[in-house]
Structures are given as C-alpha cells and as structure tokens.
C-alpha cells in the first residue's frame, strides 16, 4: 500500500527538515554574527543573538594585520590549479577504466581509494623532508602538487562512476555512424558528460579550498592560502574570537557563494548513480 501523505505529515516533516537544516547552518551563522561583535561581546555569557553593538572593526583589523587578498589569491591558485591538473589526469584514466575495463580495473580503483584511508599525518614527516630537500616548502607549486595527489583518487572515482552511467551503446552507435575516437569524444561523450565533469570540478574545488592539513604544515607565508590565514588568529596569546570569526567569514565567503550557485550540480554529482 502506498504511504499516505497527509497535510499534517507534510507539515511535520517540513518543520523537521528546516530544524535539521538550521542546526547544520547554525555554527556558520554564529561565526558570521560573532564577526560583527566586539571581542568582549563575542564571548559574553549569556550570549546576545542579534541585539549587540554591530561593528565592522574586526574586518578592518584583520585586513590591517594580515593581507587577506594575498592569501585569497593563493587559495584560488592552489585550489584551482590542483583541481585542473587532477581533472586532466583523471579524465583519461576514468575514461579508459569505464570504457575498456580489464580484469584488474576494480582492483586498481580500490587501490586508489585505499590511499585515502591512511591518515595523512602518517606520511607528513617524509613528505616534509622531501619538500625541504627539493625546495618545495612554502611554494604554490608544492601545495598544488600535494593537493592534486590527495584528491586524485576521489576525482577518478567520481568521474568513473559518472562515465559508467553513459550507455556503451551510444558510443558504439557513434562509431557505427563513422565517428573517429576524437569526434566521438567531442560530439557524443563530452556533451553527455558535462554535468558530471562540472560537479566533479566543483566538489574538488571545495575540497581543495578547505584542505587544511597539508597547507598548514607545508606553507608559512609566501604560498599560504586562507586556511593559514584563519589559523593565524587562533593564537596561544589569547582568544580573539571576533577577529577569528571575521577571518573565517572572509575565508569561506568565496566558496560559499560558489557553492550556493552550483548547489544543484553538487547534489546531482554526489547522488549520481544512486538515483537514475
């Protein structure tokens, strides 16, 4: 029997969904609010929700004390660069595994994913030493390299599952229609794969943007992205919650805007394969 959807049930489930949504969103909201408070109000108990002395002084201080745009540019270069390179490597890899699988394809995929199971801290020391000896410490190139390697398995997996969904018949039909491999790629495969490529690109961009472990450990100032910028406000000298909040808000703003506009693509990308 089909489940009855009554108005009452609808109201309850909608309210529950909003509640969960609000709970997830609350820390971000609280951070944004705190960034507009004075340091004193930021950790006042009981906390004031909206009725406090609104100020933008934290943002001014943050920009004065450290160069936001320098770090933002680093974030864009590192996240963008590592994503692009990962895509360039992953597309042909996923393509060949999806369309001409061998007996070992499944093993290769699992092996790639298994590299993500090891905690990164396990290889921090060797990687740090290698970076130091080849002069990659605190360079954008070094961070692009390590983030690209770190995210590559996920990118390949996402693209692989996406390509797998494209019926082989259609590619064979193109071949029968006289298309060469190149034209098959341009006219048939790519248009069909665009949503998958876009969502993979976006997700990887967000992962790379938020990546903190390697960026914090392998950069200091020159190549430091926004993660380092935020971290510099959680100092042992004292609590600067309002300024930390202001720095964090600035750091997540670009990616939040990007995510907001591409949420449809993102959801589709993440649930792909699960729903037809």
């Amino acid at each position: 029997m089909a489940r009855m959807v009554t108005t009452r049930n609808k109201v309850i489930s909608t309210a529950a969904a909003w509640l969960v949504g609000f709970l997830i969103f609350f820390p971000i909201l609280w951070m944004v609010l705190a960034s507009f408070k004075t340091e004193l109000e930021a950790f006042a108990i009981p906390p004031s929700f909206l009725f406090f002395h609104w100020t933008t002084e934290n943002y001014v201080t943050v920009q004065e004390r450290s160069d936001y745009f320098h770090h933002a540019l680093n974030s864009i270069v590192i996240a963008g660069g590592s994503t692009l390179i990962a895509m360039l490597i992953a597309i042909p890899a996923a393509w060949s595994m999806a369309f001409s699988p061998t007996k070992r394809t499944k093993d290769v995929l699992l092996w790639m994913l298994s590299t993500k199971m090891m905690p990164p801290v396990g290889v921090l020391v060797p990687i740090y030493l290698i970076f130091r000896s080849v002069g990659l410490l605190d360079t954008r190139a070094g961070l692009i390299f390590i983030l690209c390697l770190g995210n590559l398995p996920i990118v390949i997996w996402m693209l692989f599952t996406y390509f797998k969904e494209i019926p082989k018949d259609i590619l064979e039909a193109a071949r029968m229609d006289g298309a060469t491999i190149g034209r098959e790629l341009i006219y048939v495969l790519t248009p069909m794969a665009v949503p998958g490529l876009a969502s993979t690109l976006l997700l990887n961009l967000i992962l790379a943007w938020n990546e903190a472990f390697w960026t914090l450990n392998l950069s200091t100032l020159e190549a430091a992205p926004l993660t380092v910028f935020i971290a510099s406000y959680s100092s042992p000298e004292g609590l600067f919650w309002a300024k930390l909040s202001a720095a964090s808000t600035l750091a997540i703003a670009p990616i939040l805007v990007l995510g907001w506009f591409s949420q449809r693509q993102l959801v589709r990308g993440l649930t792909f394969g699960a729903v037809k």
Binding site: P167, D169, I170, E172, A173, A174, R175, M176, D177, G178, A179, T180, R183, Y187, V188, P191, M192
Partner: protein, 335 residues
C-alpha cells in the same frame, strides 16, 4: 553493393568460445535473419560483422574485401540497436544527420537527406524534438532513420523490436520489411523470435551454441529441418518428437511430426490414441495437448473450432508424407 561473406569466423572471450567457426554467404540485397535461443552467439556474430568486436579467427569479407582489421566507422555498415542508442543531447534532426556530418557532407545535402528520411518514416513533425520527448515507437523510427540516411552497404539490426509492445511490434515488422525491399539494401537482423524470423527473412540462419545449425529460406527450414534442433526451434507450436519402437519402425531414432500435421479424430481407430489434457480454443484454431501414453505428450493443431474437452479420448493420425526422421546424432534422414 552489400555482399557479406564469413569464412571460418571465430570468437572467444578468454577460454569461452562464443562463435566456433561460422561460414556464411549473404547475397547483395537479401534480408537475412539470425535466430536462436539466448546465448547462442547471434548478437556476437552481428557485432563481429559490425566491427564492434574483434574476431579471434577467420575472415569477414564485405564486397570481397577482408574487413577484420577495418574499424567499424570505415566498414560502411549501419546498425540499429536494441536500446535504440539515440544521442540524448541531440534533436531528432541531429541524430539522423550525425552520420552524414561525420562523412563531411555539405549542409544543404544533409538537410535534404534528413528530411527525405524523416518523411519516409513519418518523423517530420518531430524533427526538432529530443529523444526523451518521443514514444518508444518514434525512437525506434529515429534509430532506423539514422541507419537508412547514410545509404550503407548493409543494415545491421540487433533485436530492434524487442522493446516495443506486441501490436507495435507487428506494425514495425511490416514497415522494416517494406523499407528494406524498397531500398534494396542488404539487411542482417538478429532476433530470438522465430515468428519475426519466418515473416521477415529471405533467408534464416539458425544458431545454437555458437554454431550455424542451418542456413536456408524460411520454408526450407520448416519443411526440411537439418536436425532436431532446427526442427524444434522453427514452427509454433513446437514439433512433436517420438522415440522408441515407433521411430524404429520408420528406420530412425527419433521421428517428428508438426502439430498441424496430426489429424485429430474423436474416438477414432488407428493412429496414436490418447486423452486430451488441455484444449485451447482460439476460434481460428484449436490446440490440443494430448497425453498419448507411450508416445508422451503430443500437441495437435486443428484449424477451426473443435469441440473437445479435457478427458476426451482422441486419435492422432500423422500425415505419413510429413514425418521427419532423425538419426542417432540428431541429423535429419532424407529418403
């Protein structure tokens, strides 16, 4: 021209032999149907001809030229897939035009040809629609349009009607046959449906377990099946097989009689006597399933209505001229 010759074609996937050496001569302009039970290798054989699979051994000649090393794009064949395999992001026009575009034909001529093909297939009102906005039958037509517009040497059909409902299937069957006769292009058609095979084909290839069991016209296969497999596979309802003493009297291991060649007599003398266990009354025909004791279960077909019911006694008298005899190995014995 579209003459296709297979010489000892073999295909293995690892240790599994799918096609165990196929020899076949397909005349230009003929309609050849590959038929057989699932897993018999008929689709694989078609894909080998298309070039979508590589042969393990043997040669495939198209108009006298061996094409085993020629990629599918260069073989000059076109294919209609079971799943239709339309390009989902292109309009009907784009789908039909794609092959011509790949061949580098001028835009005016592409438009002219696409519109002509669309008119033949009653697709003109749908040219600007996307495949997802079409019904199953219309999609099937687009797939056929894509195949005919390129004027290939031969059409390859891979069970193209199996996703359609029964009524539409009969209609499309007629249309495909008519279109093929009109264009005069060689066609190879794969199906598991022996009615499709009998009605559409100039010649039928019966495949079983990767081997060609028989190659001949529909009536040849019906009247002179080469062996037990073909005898049982072609014809509906299935041929009755009787072994033992009765077969020995005829100098055979097994004898076969088609249900329509059994004369039904109520309480008659002679012939094979038995009890009706199921009677199917279709109005135009009556099918009787008769428990004939030592002869086993027999099926008889009577043209018209016959008022018989389960439990009734009948005699079935085989038409002596239409008894098929088979030897130990299942091969047909010709007098």
């Amino acid at each position: 021209m579209g003459q296709i010759t297979l010489q000892g074609v073999q295909k293995s996937f690892g240790p599994v032999h799918i096609i165990k050496g196929a020899d076949l001569e397909i005349a230009d302009g003929s309609f050849v149907v590959f038929v057989g039970p699932s897993g018999c290798g008929k689709t694989t054989l078609l894909r080998l001809i298309a070039g979508l699979e590589d042969v393990t051994g043997g040669a495939i000649l198209i108009d006298g030229r061996n094409v085993v090393d020629v990629p599918p794009a260069k073989r000059g064949l076109s294919m209609v897939f079971q799943s239709y395999a339309l390009y989902p992001h292109m309009s009907v026009r784009g789908n039909i035009a794609f092959g011509l575009k790949m061949a580098g034909i001028a835009r005016d001529e592409i438009n002219r040809k696409v519109e002509a093909a669309a008119a033949t297939l009653n697709l003109t009102p749908y040219l600007e629609r996307k495949p997802r906005e079409l019904s199953g039958g219309q999609r099937q037509r687009v797939a056929i349009g894509r195949a005919i517009v390129r004027e290939p040497k031969a059409f390859l059909f891979d069970e193209p009607l199996s996703n359609l409902d029964a009524a539409l299937r009969v209609q499309m069957r007629l249309e495909v046959t008519r279109l093929q006769k009109q264009l005069g292009t060689t066609a190879i058609y794969v199906t598991h449906d022996q009615v499709e095979a009998m009605t559409m084909a100039d010649k039928i290839v019966v495949l079983n377990g990767g081997k060609i069991e028989q190659y001949g016209s529909p009536l040849e296969l019906y009247e002179k099946p080469a062996n037990l497999f073909v005898a049982g596979f072609i014809g509906s309802p299935k041929m009755n097989f009787v072994t033992g003493e009765l077969a020995k009297q005829q100098g055979a291991t097994t004898i076969g009689v088609r249900p329509e060649h059994l004369k039904v007599e109520r309480d008659g003398q002679g012939g094979w006597r038995g009890t009706v266990s199921v009677a199917e009354h279709l109005g135009s025909d009556t099918f009787l399933y008769v428990d004939a004791g030592p002869q086993g279960m027999l099926t008889a077909r009577y043209i018209g209505e016959l008022d018989l019911h389960p439990g009734d006694q009948v005699s079935l008298i085989p038409d002596p001229a239409r008894i098929h005899r088979f030897d130990d190995s299942g091969k047909s014995i010709r007098a």
